[in-house]
């Protein structure tokens, strides 16, 4: 399928059952070492995962933008590259390095909903380990949902002439978190539709949510990048 019209917002939804559970990833978030959890802890993790899956509501929105790069100082003090991505002008060397071969990006915002936050609030009354466990599981679930979303976007728009960079979020490297304001201004009502909001401290609510850019690289028949 051809790449979509610039700035058109699309919705994505998945059932929690479609997510590929990655427990070792969640153990890392829980600060559990390589030997893994003992039997008692594993029991708690399994029960927490079941509770999480029953309230997990993966939803996302995304849009496509063409990219332009400019070597610019001007308003971008101390940063070499300014990236024009339709919804925002981003001054970031690290993002530039990541997507310099691309000629477009998908911007997305994904969430697994308020369920995880509610479980963290409730289960701390049962056991202080549970918030930590839910935190680790929720972080893993939103990441695997992003993997699924990325895969679906690639399936929909990818072909032999199009390849994709891995996702890159505001807050990584020198890609400032303040760009979250642009992301939410752009998505507007659509963010509300999936229950996602940004607070004054630039934190997303629900907390288990991700915004990111996925670089898109179109190659000509001889394999060279069209952006070169």
């Amino acid at each position: 399928m051809a790449l979509p019209k610039t700035g058109t917002i699309f919705y994505h939804h998945a059932d929690a059952s479609a997510l590929t559970i990655d427990l070792p990833q969640s153990y890392r978030y829980m600060q559990i070492g390589k030997c893994g959890p003992d039997e008692e802890l594993k029991k708690q993790i399994d029960a927490a995962l079941e509770a999480q899956l029953s309230v997990c509501k993966p939803n996302a929105i995304y849009a496509y933008f063409p990219l332009t790069f400019e070597e610019q100082i001007g308003t971008c003090k101390n940063k070499h590259y300014c990236i024009g991505a339709g919804f925002s002008n981003i001054c970031s060397d690290t993002l530039y390095k990541h997507i310099k071969d691309c000629d477009g990006v998908f911007l997305f915002a994904a969430t697994i909903g308020v369920g995880c936050d509610r479980l963290i609030a409730r289960d701390r009354l049962k056991n202080q380990a549970l918030p930590m466990i839910h935190q680790g599981l929720g972080a893993m679930l939103v990441e695997v949902y992003c993997d699924l979303l990325e895969a679906d976007i690639q399936k929909m728009y990818g072909d032999s002439n199009i390849s994709f960079a891995t996702r890159y979020s505001p807050g990584y490297g020198d890609f400032s978190l303040s760009h979250q304001i642009d992301v939410f201004r752009f998505f507007g009502k659509a963010a509300r539709d999936i229950g996602l909001s940004l607070n004054e401290s630039l934190l997303m609510q629900p907390s288990k949510s991700v915004t990111a850019l996925i670089g898109v690289k179109s190659t000509s028949a001889d394999g060279s990048s069209t952006n070169e």
Partner: protein, 826 residues
Amino acid sequence: MSRISIEEQLKSGKMLYFDGGTGSILQENGLQPGELPERWNLTHADFIRSLHENYYKAGANIIKTDTFGLNCLKFAPDELTQIVTAALANANAARDSIEGSDHAFAKAPHYIALDIGPTGKLLKPLGDLAFEDAVDVFKSVLKPASECGGFDLVLIETMNDVYEAKAAVLAAKETTDVPIFVTTVYDENAKLLTGADPETCVALFEGLGVTAVGLNCSLGPKQMAPIVPRLVAAASIPVIVNPNAGLPRSENGRTVYDVDPDDFAECMAEIAKSGANIIGGCCGTTPAHIARMVELTKDIPSVYPEPKNLTVITSYTHAVYFKDRPILIGERINPTGKKRFKQALRDHDIDYILQEGLTQQENHAHVLDVNVGLPEIDEPSLICDVITELQGVLDLPLQIDTTDPIALERGLRLYNGKALINSVNGKQEVMDTVFPLVKKYGGVVVALLIDEDGIPETCEGRLKIAEKLYAEAEKYGLKKSDLLIDSLCMSVASDDVAGRETLKTVDTITRKYHGKTILGVSNISFGLPHREIVTAAFFQMAMQAGLSAAIINPNSIDIQKAYACHCMLSGFDEKCLDYITFATENEERLTAGSASATAGAASAGASKTGVASDTLEYFITKGLAEPAAEKTKAMLGEGVDPMVIINDHLINALNIVGKKFEEKTLFLPQLLMSASACSSAFDVIKTHMINSGTQQQKKCKIILATVKGDIHDIGKNIVKTLLENYGFDVIDLGKDVPPETVVQSCIEHHAPLVGLSALMTTTVPSMEETIKLLRKEAPWAKAVVGGAVLTQEYADMIGADKYCKDARETVGYATEVHEAWIKENN
């Protein structure tokens, strides 16, 4: 042109039609990504007018002003007033135009809905917008709109959180007299994103007095169709259905919607037949969709809903109906006769109260009574704190139990749902105070059969008060189904016929008056030995007499037995599944025949389960909370000094776990499980000491807070648990705490140490500000900081005394501060 009110129009038997999408049409016509559509009222006024007019020409009766996202969070006051004035002018111009034309629909009824969408913020506790602030955000558009006039109703739409919708409804009720319509957004599982189902939405909004209720956006008509009959079955008011034309998808680089006007109209005809009264469209629908829908449905009658007379309350996720199967209301959040609970109220120990709530939920209470009244306490303030925290962690409906009208109103306002209210009675003054609040905020109210002359001794006397209560409630527009009659049971120890007269009253209200009843059953046994036996027997008899709800201790095994058996033997327990669950869950207690045992976090039995080693240290290091609590109880029973248990056993166990954590042979979740087990043991000791009138020796006070702007508190809570385990007196101010509150608390308690937590770089400035203020106002206090984003370098930069990388290190630093503090104070 004069027109009949929309309320009368709804009773005319004719279907009413909303317009279709606005935002999606604006996008098609050049609205840029990120551009605010409401500004088009000023910049593209002709286009907006013509869009409204086209909808009227398509047959719509109600158009929505282009004000969906208009509020003070996005617009400065002057611009906001300008836009709302222009939006109403555009809508009125369109109406004048169609009504002055010779168009086929010129004579149709035409209405203007002031359109109110969500704020775009998540409300506390999940987000950072306080409930009253949300009310003010909605008022920021409703007030100038009301001053301007020119609309016939307020449409609160696309709401995916009932709490936010409640804030909008209250804002509308407090600024305008026009009818209020509310539509919410469901997913394919018929739930809002925040969890409410259709029945909950209907009960909550009907309770608030809205004129019509329904659903819009997110789904296409086909996916919405199964939700409509559920709304129709629950609602006594008209039902609105405004679907999308499907969700946008990409086709050859263009945005298209799944459902064309013909398919849309066909589905809408089915929806109309299933009982909807007002239909229209949302995103992706156009005048063509509306025109085709009107054409296909114009002959389908709209049947105004019959009153359902349901007695129903809700939380923010589900509704609880008072029907044949009795409802259990947990009575444990109440200080009466509970020393430990009173102490928790005085100490503002909200966690203890939340724990009581959680235990009752685990023991299958359907509703939780909330009473925090103590003479020396600011009840309105505390009831708000407790309700906020309870609804932040539990999804059970609450019964707001207070005699203080200010506390009642503040609680009802803040409550996220339709509450049960405890109580009104036959005294004129009380009825004059309580019924208007029930009318304004919605709710079911417990009506006590007592008046200026006291409690009548006989059933007949009590029935007279019931009649008075029903009649007075009706004056406020409340129905019999909004009242739960409490016949009041007195102790049989002081009156031989107390039980009989109460049961007779329950029976008569149920069978003759067709009313609903409630009882606080445990009063019956007051003053008698082995009260539980009498209470359970009376409970069973009352259920047999038709009791709709009982205020009970859900943790009591005797109450649980009586309830499980009654439900099964009365045919309310399909395939005996609930009884079997009860019997299985309580196997040990039932076989032991421990009639006075109570269930819950500290249930009996677990300590004698043959664990390999039964020392308190073993249970703590293994993170086994219940055995740790039981072992502590046993040790106290054997006369072991509480301080010996703390210093020789608990601290020792924590040190073992802490060492293993530092050696990385045990990990953070296990450390926390041990900390929780330790907390369970501490709680037993605390209760023991309060009951025996002794004071627990505590170390110095420490103020803890997650700084303003930050809502992450897992790390802060871990630190709190460990500090408490080591005997520190922790004052936990929670999350998102302003610098002034931290400093004020530090001064009030003269605390030598303040712990501040932050997760994000964006909230570190707030931490710095807190430390600066602390230096100025409470120079004696040390500041320790921590959190994912903090480093030693950051901590130095913002002037903290100490950076601790984890909770263990914080305990070490707190101990140093404590020792210095002891030295200074001796």
